[in-house]
Symmetry: C2
Subunit: 418 residues, 2 copies
């Protein structure tokens, strides 16, 4: 009787966890997203996020295009689309990539995905067998680790310097693996203005990486969301540009050059690879949202994209400069940081012995938030780093944030010495 | 020298297949999508698709809402959103489901997904261990089989009649599994106006299914894209309505009541389940497209949805009637079909011995296309059925299509007898 009553009340008698798959039991929420929830309240200056500034969204252009799309293309824009993506958008992107990066359209195919994040998941699904070796940068993009992890790879993390992944260390590793009779499935790199480190892989290393891929027979996944956000220095061709063999899968996204709210990105690669990724996508969500795709097509096709890139660059450059200047002015001796020519992030390294994860709560209490670096390393091997974002808040706020942070670090260094 | 030249030309020396994961090697393209490619040309009447009629898209409403969103909510609509979905949309949907289906908002949570297809994939990811028993209807929604298949379940297929899944047969199966010491992880059902069969699970069976879920300890995945498209008969509460324990995951979608181009659906279920699905979604695409979500929010919140449902129903009813009448008029003796009160599909059963897959090419040559039924069965156990769609083409075309089809079937029956 009582049992029946309990059931009627639905009073938590179900052991919900018992139904999850083994893999689901191991899934953890993104630490950054959890941290950001804490920050939302109060007078905390957040240098922790990874969001573009809403002021950069081309609202008027979108308004104009959307009206046009609903007048002339509503049937297509509101209907299901093909899994591979809206063909005029795919063609416009191919043309744009040919002009901008000298990537020949004849040897590659393009498919549209629901943001680069989906590209990462689909690449994991299509290429990773449990135990396959996946090489990442140390540090690397956190959400890529999350996406790949589901497929149980063995990560190898290659340290970086101001010229990106230390490709000579990769070579040593490849040689070592070869002796063990093992191979790398793919190398994942955010080649330009890396998230989180802000650094760019040098031209020489790009070429060498492609040579190594041929020599040791692996693929390269080049994730390139930031290269258009260049505030100084000369453009450098993507790794994909040097790819004769079709080993490079190139990921692009509209999140930083139009707006993240459309959730649109693309994969450029050998038709054979794209075909399999397309089949994988069919099972996970049929197609990317068509409405956004038709808007994005007009945006690229009618030249708004190139115009808008210049505006974003002008908007972000002073913010990057403000953060670099503030770091110079306020940071105590012994703290190092990268000096990116573009992108959204600066990477800060504190003296050995400071654990930025433990320090994060103190910083929030002092009114500033950052992302502790640990989670960006595949094996959590480094404790004294942090990622700072300079795109989301205005210059004055950046200065104040860095000032507060410098104070927290100084206190921490004193405590360490004392 | 020659080898180097070959490499420079990138002349297909790479063995692309060798890089795929074992699971990717087994992935196949959807047969329906491949068939539909054939149909695109010429004078073929397609009763094969599953598309809503573009005439039903509420273009003017979308235009009005979109302009409003870009004026008053651009910052949110164009930015990244939370993984769980745009909160005002989630709240508006909860309210709508409470009013429409008497599903209490207090015991459930809602998350937004990139169409129901993504819900199916995420549910596979979060609940299915390899070898887990998943019960489906025979026939069932093809793309659900595709989504779940990646996670290696053991499918059990339960036949249907005019009142949906034969729940008494399910009970026998459950009893048998119990004797073998086995359990079902979940039962998947398209409960109302099923795709592909058009039938609706009766009230009595809905209640019994929930009782069985409690008794034999399994979950229920209720996929309900069609229930608003009711042309006759009385509404029936979703299975979720009878769920005291939190065993039912309910899937809704905007594809049939707004437009598929937004790729938006939702999952309603116990907060504990939703939380895990949210974490899984974080790794696969961060969040559903925010722009569409904000538009969908206004669409629900301001009452456009309920208005529009009435318009769609009036638009589709004559098409359903036209197909039922044409079947009555043209089909030879020995052919049976379902008489749906709603939805988009009618299921046709031919005399034993006819293989509709083999017949499909002949039909296309005679100017009509349908979907062979075989692929809708988990074990491809039935060969003499087909799915017809009545939403996409106008009444006259439906009549002509059914007439052509009847002729093909008659020829086939003659050949079979002769």
């Amino acid at each position: 009787m009582e049992e029946k009553l309990m059931r009627k009340l639905g009073s938590g008698s179900l052991d919900f966890d018992a139904y999850f798959s083994e893999k689901a039991k191991a899934m953890k929420a993104s630490e950054i997203r959890e941290l950001l929830k804490l920050v939302e309240s109060g007078d905390v200056i957040s240098l922790a996020g990874g969001l573009p500034a809403p002021e950069t969204f081309p609202v008027e252009t979108i308004r104009k295009i959307t009206a046009e799309v609903l007048t002339s293309h509503a049937d297509k824009a509101l209907q299901y689309g093909t899994t591979k993506g809206f063909t005029p958008l795919r063609l416009a992107l191919a043309e744009w990539m040919k002009n901008r990066y000298a990537i020949p359209t004849s040897k590659v195919d393009i498919m549209i995905v629901a943001g680069s994040q989906q590209a990462l998941d689909l690449i994991g699904r299509v290429f990773i067998n449990p135990g396959d070796v996946v090489v990442v940068e140390g540090p690397t993009y956190l959400a890529a680790l999350n996406a790949f992890k589901y497929y149980d790879p063995r990560f190898i993390s290659i340290p970086m310097d101001d010229e990106g992944m230390k490709v000579e260390l990769l070579e040593e590793k490849l040689e070592q693996l070869r002796r063990e009779g093992k191979k790398v499935k793919f190398v994942y790199t955010v080649s330009t203005f890396q998230n989180p480190a802000g650094v760019t892989m040098s031209l020489e290393r790009r070429k060498r990486l492609v040579e190594l891929a041929d020599e040791y027979d692996f693929l390269i996944v080049e994730d390139n969301p930031y290269s258009e956000l260049r505030y100084s220095g000369e453009p450098i061709p993507p790794i994909k540009h040097f790819d004769d063999q079709g080993r490079v899968l190139y990921l692009g996204t509209f999140s930083k050059i139009l707006a993240p709210g459309f959730r649109l990105g693309w994969i450029t690669g050998s038709p054979h690879f794209i075909r399999k990724i397309e089949i994988a996508k069919q099972a996970v969500d049929l197609c990317a949202n068509t409405f956004g795709q038709v808007i994005a097509w007009k945006y690229v096709e009618e030249g708004y994209l190139d115009e808008h890139i210049e505006e974003i660059v002008e908007f972000y450059r002073p913010r990057r400069d403000a953060m670099l200047e503030a770091l110079e002015e306020y940071m105590p001796e012994g703290v190092r940081w990268t000096r990116p020519d573009g992108g959204m992030f600066i990477w800060v390294t504190l003296p050995e012995g400071i654990d930025t994860k433990l320090m994060a709560e103190k910083a929030i209490r002092k009114g500033v938030a950052y992302v502790p670096g640990e989670a960006f390393f595949a094996h959590r091997e480094v404790k004294n780093t942090m990622r700072l974002n300079f795109t989301y808040v205005p210059e004055e706020t950046i200065r104040e944030g860095v000032k507060r942070l410098a104070q927290v670090i100084e206190d921490e260094m004193k405590a360490l010495r004392g």
